[in-house]
Amino acid sequence: MSDHTIQTKINGNVVKKTVAARKTLADFLRVDCSLTGTHIGCEHGVCGACTVMVDGLAVRSCLMLAVQADGAEIRTVEGVAKEDGTLHRVQQALQEEHGLQCGFCTPGFVMTLVSLVERKEPIDEEEMKAALSGHICRCTGYQGILRAVKKLTATPAKA
């Protein structure tokens, strides 16, 4: 087992830490960085709860090692709302449409939706829905989440 020093930018803050080579990015964020908003639902890449953005792309942090994130820019669910607490429109849509119950899957859905609404190319409802098939929610039956998707794809993205 070897240890490595990595430097990343997480939600805009530079973080430099020494981690074991085998530590997952999910555990690094949760344990080493105390960013517990990223959740672990399966640790085998199916449920999507651990999704974070690495250099602008949504990735599963349970399938990535912390050392692979050396030099990367990471955004987690803690870095989505404005500093004054104003929710991102993805978060607003999920709240308005009752897209969460226990909230455990929610950070993953938020990160994938944020990555989709913030990308340059426009996205339609079907495409967004298809992207969500990489996430499992056991509480909502997806009804509220799909209503949020409708809302997010109906409103033209604002700057």
Binding site: I40, G41, G141
Partner: protein
């Protein structure tokens, strides 16, 4: 989003109020069990049995012990020396139970049975150490299929047989005579497969012991903290007062987090022994093989009808798999109670057999008794076909109407204030049956197979099963600044009670919902009582909050009356202010009233106690029945076996809805779990007892792309409990499976496919279709 206008009698109850829970959960600030860090905390991992049945010959943990960072290793024998065997508090009296220890200590009885507990600096090291433990086993023939349990190898050597429990209604010659002379007798065996709860957050616990205080503090992913303390105290042979249980946010449970597992009990014992905090978070594979199972069951259902299709009698011969160490030994009694369902059924005979097998133990899963509805509603469709009556018509002829109530069922339950007939007609209207039949006929001509399925059921909410579930308490208090705190023992694994209980209190006390905080999830600051489960939050906790808040309102008004020199009846509270109705200019803020109550006791009305806290504990001795009807339409691809759900309509009567959006969320969550059960989810074991679905790659759950848009309608028949609420938490999961199975059977009627064995996954449907075609050819 409409939060209703202030001043109306009910400003929040009945409205779509956005949830108080959401802002923290959406921003990563929820606090789930694994998010807690306790100073000095160690981490646990388990060595689990790879055999369904084996004797433990020898355990060699020298290499594990030598690994740096390992602090404790406990075998079953170590734990057995520290604790007495304990049976589940759900065990029926006078029914023998196997010696149950937290870890396997002489032999293992299912794959996943915990054998050794490792405690280390972190989970990585604990798992390394677990891999270094060498356990020598002497494997034996296992019993995997409960249907062969009677003659199979014994699961528990200390018991006489594999039959956990058998119960039956008394012999009834009258019942037999009805069957002998009935115009139509229909019988069919219905079978359902094993499900695993699979909440997105697995089980988890942190235990930290203070010897100085003789107090063990436990953070648990628990559906109810007092329930967890109650079960743990039983297992540890200590008092509830020796434990403090805390649950923060809980990533759902669906019944699986009602009762601590044997492994979790071992963690608490080790933490008390080592005097070090220990965290154990179950991983997904452990959840899928070693947590708890549900729904592996079957029943032979016989229905007798007269010549007009009027139901005369039923027999329900039900068997289910209880696994090796069930914490819920049998769901039989609940299933029997609910079997008569929404129909007038004069006579009923039943038998229940619960069998041990070498599989993981039975636990609760959303509507644990739901097989009664699955079996009854499928056989109603089969009966309709056999008698040549339309299945909707058959339901209409037998469904209970308002005029029939109160109606005492053949299982001894009393229905009052229920509306199965109305919900049935609502879904018939919504789905537009005549139009669908035309579309179906046209599609068949083009070789497309559409189907319509329907079900009606009665849902026992607040199942009156005694014990800790008998009474429900709530406290409402106003602090010196005029803000409200509600405290409840009910848990919140996603049921939104932080919002719904606040809605109730805000209405009763005339305050903004922002000024109500709901406190729960800690045995130290809530009173003893049940947690979430059994759809009792609205009736039990909501009812108790209603009464407690009404008492607080009365006190506030009495103080206000004295201060304003008015009669209490002439006063009201709105927007946090007390004033004479119609004269809002002369007002008193709640803060002023609170100051009187806390600081100026002499100003209070004669004889009134100072302070502003009211508590109410209510008893719910009987089950409160909710009801619903669902219908769905499907398109079955006969080349691939894939079922596409076209529409899903649901009409539900859960009495007064505190928050319709929350009710619909509960309905849809349950419906999709039911859809998953019919089409995807299957915890299959091979013949040697190896679980074959040990990851989400094998245990398939429904995804956003698999679900229809659910259409709702509500009938509101208030219950006679405070607030008029009924439960709504389990219904979707109960009624969805037979609704969908009936639709698939209807779609495939031209092929005469037997849909009585679930799941109806594409591979199984294709096999059935092929058999049907080759039979025809």
């Amino acid at each position: 989003m409409s939060q209703a206008s202030a001043g109306a009698a009910a400003r929040y109850v009945g409205q779509h109020v956005v949830r108080k829970e959401d802002p923290r959960m959406l921003t990563g600030q929820g606090r789930y069990v694994d998010d807690n860090v306790v100073p000095g905390m160690l981490h646990a991992a388990f060595v689990r049995s790879p055999h369904a049945k084996a004797r433990i010959v020898h355990i060699d943990f020298a290499a594990a012990r030598a690994l740096p960072g390992v602090h404790g290793i406990y075998t079953g024998a170590d734990i057995a020396a520290m604790v007495k065997p304990a049976r589940s508090l759900h065990w029926p009296p006078n029914v023998p139970y196997p010696v149950t220890m937290p870890l396997a200590h002489t032999d293992v009885r299912y794959v996943g049975d915990p054998v050794v507990l490792i405690v280390a600096d972190d989970r990585y090291i604990a798992e390394d150490a677990a891999e270094l433990v060498e356990v020598e086993y002497d494997p034996q023939d296992a019993l995997v299929d409960y249907m062969t349990a009677n003659n199979g190898p014994k699961v528990h050597p200390d018991l006489d047989s594999n039959l956990l429990w058998e119960m039956a209604s008394p012999a009834d010659p009258e019942l037999d005579a009805i069957f002998a002379s009935a115009a139509h007798v229909v019988e069919k065996t219905i079978t359902q497969q094993r499900y695993i709860n699979s909440p997105m957050e697995t089980r988890g616990i942190i235990a930290s012991h203070s010897a100085a205080e003789n107090l063990t503090t436990i953070w648990s992913a628990s559906q109810g903290v007092h329930q967890t303390a109650y079960y743990l105290a039983n297992a540890l042979a200590c008092d509830i007062a020796d434990l403090r249980v805390i649950a923060g946010d809980v990533g759902a449970g669906f019944g699986g987090k009602v009762h601590p597992g044997r492994d979790e009990i071992a963690v608490v014992i080790a933490a008390r022994h080592m005097r070090r905090p220990i965290k154990y978070i179950e991983d997904r594979m452990e959840h899928l093989i070693a947590s708890a199972q549900a729904r592996e069951e079957s029943a032979l259902v016989k229905l007798a009808f007269d010549a007009k299709g009027i139901l005369l009698a039923a027999k329900f011969d039900y068997q289910h798999d209880s696994g090796a160490y069930p914490w819920l030994p049998s769901v039989g009694p609940l299933a029997v109670n609910a079997f008569p369902g929404p129909y007038r059924l004069p006579k009923f005979g039943w038998r229940v057999r619960a069998w041990y097998t070498n599989t993981v133990g039975l636990g609760a899963y959303r509507g644990p008794w739901m097989f009664e509805t699955v079996a009854r509603e499928q056989v109603i469709d089969i009966a309709a076909k056999q008698m040549g009556i339309d299945s909707l018509e058959l339901r209409r002829r037998n469904v209970i109407h308002t005029a029939d109530q109160p109606y005492k069922t053949a299982s001894g339950q009393v229905y009052d204030r229920v509306s199965p007939d109305q919900t049935l007609e609502k879904v018939v209207d919504m789905i537009d049956v005549p139009v669908f039949r035309k579309v179906q006929e046209a599609a068949r001509k083009e070789g497309r197979y559409l189907g319509l399925g329907m079900s009606v059921y009665m849902e026992p909410t607040v199942n009156a099963i005694g014990g800790i579930r008998t009474t429900f308490q709530a406290e409402t208090r106003m602090d010196a600044s005029g803000r409200i705190t509600v405290s409840s023992h009910i848990g919140n694994p996603g049921n939104s009670m932080e919002t719904t209980l606040a809605q109730i209190a805000a209405d009763e006390l005339g305050v903004d919902i922002k000024d109500v905080r709901v406190v729960y999830g800690d045995t130290a600051n809530t009173q003893f009582g049940p947690g979430a489960g059994g759809s009792k939050q609205a009736v039990g906790a909501g009812g108790a909050v209603t009464v407690a808040a009404q008492a607080l309102r009365k006190k506030i008004l009495a103080i206000g009356a004295k201060m304003l020199e008015a009669a209490p009846e002439d006063l009201t509270i709105e927007n946090g202010k007390v004033f004479v109705k119609g004269i809002p200019q002369v007002e008193l803020t709640l803060k002023k009233i609170a100051e009187s109550a806390y600081y100026l006791p002499k100003t209070l009305p004669e004889g009134m106690e100072p302070g502003l806290a009211t508590s109410h504990r209510m008893t719910l001795p009987v089950t409160h029945w909710a009801n619903a009807a669902h219908a769905c339409t499907v398109d079955v691809d006969v080349e691939t076996g894939v079922v596409k759900i076209l529409r899903w309509v649901a009409s539900e009567d859960c009495g007064v809805m505190i928050n319709p959006t929350v009710v619909e969320g509960q309905m849809s969550g349950g419906i999709v779990q039911g859809i998953g059960g019919v089409l995807l989810e299957h915890s299959l074991y091979d013949e040697r007892g190896n679980p074959l679905a040990a990851s989400f790659k094998d245990y398939l759950l429904p995804l956003a792309t698999d679900v229809p848009v659910i259409e709702y309608s509500h009938v509101c028949t208030p219950s006679d409990t405070p607030g008029g609420f009924k439960g709504a938490g389990e219904g979707g999961a109960i009624i969805a499976p037979p609704t969908l199975a009936n639709a698939i059977a209807d779609a495939l009627a031209p092929f005469n496919i037997d849909c009585s064995r679930m799941p109806l996954s594409p591979d199984r449907l294709l096999m059935a279709l092929e058999a049907s075609r080759s039979g025809k050819a």
